[in-house]
């Protein structure tokens, strides 16, 4: 208890997060993605071993936007290898079409990383300042407000109004820290999922706290958009907070946040995706299911959860735990899942490609399968699939449901857990 009290004191009278976190990180002279920094100046071809490229085309063949977009990773690698001047690459506007799903790297027979080369080209464009306005807005917002959505930092925690979700500012103490993420915090559709998750965690008696308004964007998309420096700044801000709190577990709403914490932060934060926590809580019988949810659902594997982090079973286990739910599988599921095109900064990029989007293809397939709902576990997937459902005119045929919302339906029949009793 003594320790709890001391920590509580520490967390009262908070200074503005940017100052606090940045000063601390600067004092410790700690930089992130140091590896990238060290090898600056080394040609792309050398840095990414492009001499090993077979030009087989598996990266392009597997690229989720390959059928629609002029983006051709194979050709980019080839040009990076044979051209002395990088200018020809910097001219390539289609690098913005990359969803950073990493399928190309997964497919490459030589273990090369076309996705990283694309990111480097984006970085070159960023360093020249030649970027789409929408990306510029997102990046500048992330620097200024700590989120890419152009929303005030002071409103970050507004999604939880009246829910009694604890924050460290209030001095709450918990071993588990919920890293909420920008999109769940600000996007109205994703807020519903965040509120559902809050409801489940509380109903399951899972002690947790959040960083409230102090949380900053994890930087995942900023890094993938090629803005390394911004990623470092954001990572430092979060890192400083995480070091201070030293939670036992960090759980994230978004697989993108989880992936950033796990693979981009240095040292890594062993974050869990909420589906992993829900699977465990379900397995331990701690989720008080009270209602049948008679839905036939298909699970859409988010790339950053599945392909990139190998989390395939837990979301399915959490779905299976909901009474009444029948889970069926897409043909293209798990490591063969179809990217929704929401990653790699594509939330802020239209893309050059024409024709049907993957998300549309996905919802059509789901409708053909005769499922009632597509369940996913990523805010970007949730938004792209929701959009696609409307575009495809399937609003009446199909629901897009976040995993947390599905589980919450089994616990409480209100679609939005705003009815949660507020803590005094």
């Amino acid at each position: 208890m003594a320790q709890a009290c001391s920590k509580r004191r520490k967390w009262r009278g908070f200074r503005p997060p940017s100052l606090l976190a940045f000063q601390r990180a600067k004092a410790q002279k700690r930089w992130f993605v140091g590896k990238l920094r060290d090898i600056e100046g080394v040609p792309l071809a050398e840095r990414y071993e492009l001499a090993a490229c077979l030009q087989c085309g598996r990266c392009t063949g597997g690229c989720p936007v390959g059928l629609r977009s002029p983006l051709n990773s194979r050709r980019l690698l080839y040009e990076a290898l044979i051209r002395e001047d990088g200018e020809v690459l910097v001219e390539r506007e289609e690098v913005w079409d990359c969803t950073a799903c990493r399928t190309c790297a997964d497919r490459c027979p030589r273990g090369l990383e076309p996705v990283s080369v694309i990111r480097e080209i984006r970085t070159l464009k960023i360093e020249e300042g030649r970027i789409p306005q929408t990306v510029m807005d997102a990046l500048e917002s992330a620097l200024k407000h700590g989120n890419p959505w152009g929303r005030s930092r002071r409103k970050r925690f507004a999604w939880a109004d009246g829910l009694g979700v604890p924050t460290l500012e209030e001095g709450d103490e918990a071993p588990n820290l919920w890293f909420v993420g920008c999109t769940p915090a600000y996007d109205p559709r994703c807020q519903e999922a965040a509120r559902a998750l809050a409801g489940i965690l509380r109903a399951a008696g899972y002690p947790f706290t959040t960083l409230g308004n102090e949380e900053s964007c994890c930087g995942s998309e900023m890094l993938r958009l090629g803005e390394l420096g911004l990623f470092e700044e954001l990572a430092e801000a979060n890192r400083a907070l995480l070091d201070e709190v030293a939670p036992e577990t960090v759980l994230t709403t978004s697989p993108h946040c989880m992936n950033a914490l796990r693979t981009d932060y240095d040292p890594a934060v062993s974050a869990l995706h909420f589906s992993q926590v829900l699977a465990r809580l379900a397995d331990e019988g701690r989720i008080p299911f009270r209602r049948e949810v008679p839905l036939r659902v298909a699970f859409h594997d988010p790339c950053y959860l599945g392909k990139q982090n190998g989390v395939y079973e837990e979301p399915r286990a959490a779905i299976a735990a909901v009474p009444g739910v029948e889970l069926v599988e897409f043909d293209r599921s798990r490591e063969r899942s179809l990217c929704c095109e929401g990653g790699g900064g594509r939330m802020w990029l239209e893309g050059l490609g024409e024709g049907e989007r993957n998300a549309q293809q996905r919802v059509r397939t789901a409708a053909d399968m005769g499922v009632d709902a597509v369940v996913t576990a990523c805010p970007f997937c949730l938004l792209t699939l929701e959009d696609a459902r409307k575009t495809a005119g399937l609003e009446d045929a199909l629901e897009i449901v976040d995993l947390a919302e599905l589980v919450w339906r089994g616990v409480e029949d209100l679609p939005d857990p705003c009815g949660l009793e507020t803590r005094s």
Partner: protein, 321 residues
């Protein structure tokens, strides 16, 4: 003590805002009102003839370098005349012209200056200007130091213009302007006419920077289509190249007076609001409840326009059957 009103004219025509300046000058009660009309040779006669009632004296200043209401020359000419005549107040418009000459005049005179003023008051302490800051989110009261002359520019549209005709014979003042002021007027250019004329539309659906993405224009387009309305926008959307300038509602764009004006994601900067505030019915959607647009709207909706507008489109379609 006297009050000078700088008559603004362009291309041979007196601009409406001059009437507003005269009204303020009169109301100020700080002495007789002098209208000063500056321009190149032959450029001042027509504007001087159109001056509104309430003017006690008209002074015309003509000079080569004043051609095209050249701001550098205007400031230089006024500085010399004002230094001699010491008017208590030089009133101009916070217009493209006023923004060009007024502060330079003040600098030349070493005079206090307040720009973009909504209302000007005189009390024992001298002059007090009320103006807005932070894009209209707050209002500031600014005290002008006691000085022989103060320079003030008024926000166009903030006051009711004086009407009538001056019917005062104009004096001609010699312009003590250097022949070469370093700036030369070349020509007036008018924006080429576009495909649409938003000033003729009965219903306008107007978008602002609150849309984050050019693709999101479709949300507004859908609503416009459902309503049979025309799509217009605020300045930032044009700056970003997302819609052509002919669609811009604002001081530098078009002034509109439709029956219904629906503002989506428009914060309500004055340069926009001035150009649409007389619409018959104004409905605004904005996520910021403090957005100034709500102060000129008849109805407001606080919310995410991507959630609200598609619903609205749907409801409109249903209503139309």
């Amino acid at each position: 003590m006297s009050v000078w009103v700088i008559a603004e004219h362009r291309n041979g025509e007196l601009r409406e805002v001059t009437g507003e300046l005269v009204a303020v000058a009169r109301a100020l009660g700080a002495g007789p009102v002098t209208a000063v009309v500056l321009g190149g040779p032959g450029e001042t006669e027509a504007p001087a003839a159109g001056l509104p009632a309430g003017i006690d004296r008209v002074v015309r200043v003509e000079h080569e370098s004043l051609a095209g209401f050249n701001g550098v020359a205007v400031a230089a000419a006024l500085e010399r005349v004002a230094a001699r005549e010491r008017p208590a107040v030089v009133l101009g418009a916070h217009s493209a012209a006023g923004m060009d000459w007024a502060s330079a005049l003040a600098a030349g005179l070493g005079a206090p200056v307040a720009t973009d003023v909504l209302s000007l008051h005189r009390d024992d302490g001298g002059f007090l200007a009320v103006r807005t800051v932070y894009a209209g989110k707050l209002q500031a009261r600014v005290r002008l130091a006691q000085a022989p002359t103060v320079v003030v520019t008024l926000r166009p549209g903030a006051t009711e213009a004086a009407a009538g005709s001056a019917e005062v014979p104009a004096e001609t003042e010699a312009a003590e302007v250097p022949a070469e002021v370093g700036r030369r007027f070349v020509e007036w250019i008018q924006e080429a006419a576009g495909e649409v004329d938003i000033t003729q539309a009965d219903v306008l659906v107007s978008v602002g920077r609150g849309i984050g993405d050019p693709e999101d224009l479709d949300v507004a387009r859908d609503l416009a289509e459902a309503l049979g309305a025309t799509l217009s926008c605020s300045r930032p959307v044009v700056d970003l190249g997302w819609l052509p300038k002919e669609r811009q509602v604002g001081i530098s764009g078009k002034t509109v007076k439709p029956k219904v004006y629906i503002a989506l994601g428009i914060s309500g900067a004055f340069q926009h609001v001035t150009a649409m505030k007389d619409a018959g019915l104004i409905l605004a959607v904005n996520k910021d409840p403090k957005a100034p647009i709500f102060r000129v709207s008849h109805y407001g909706i606080v919310g995410d326009l991507f959630k609200v507008v598609p619903e609205l489109t749907k409801a409109v379609r249903e209503a139309k059957g």
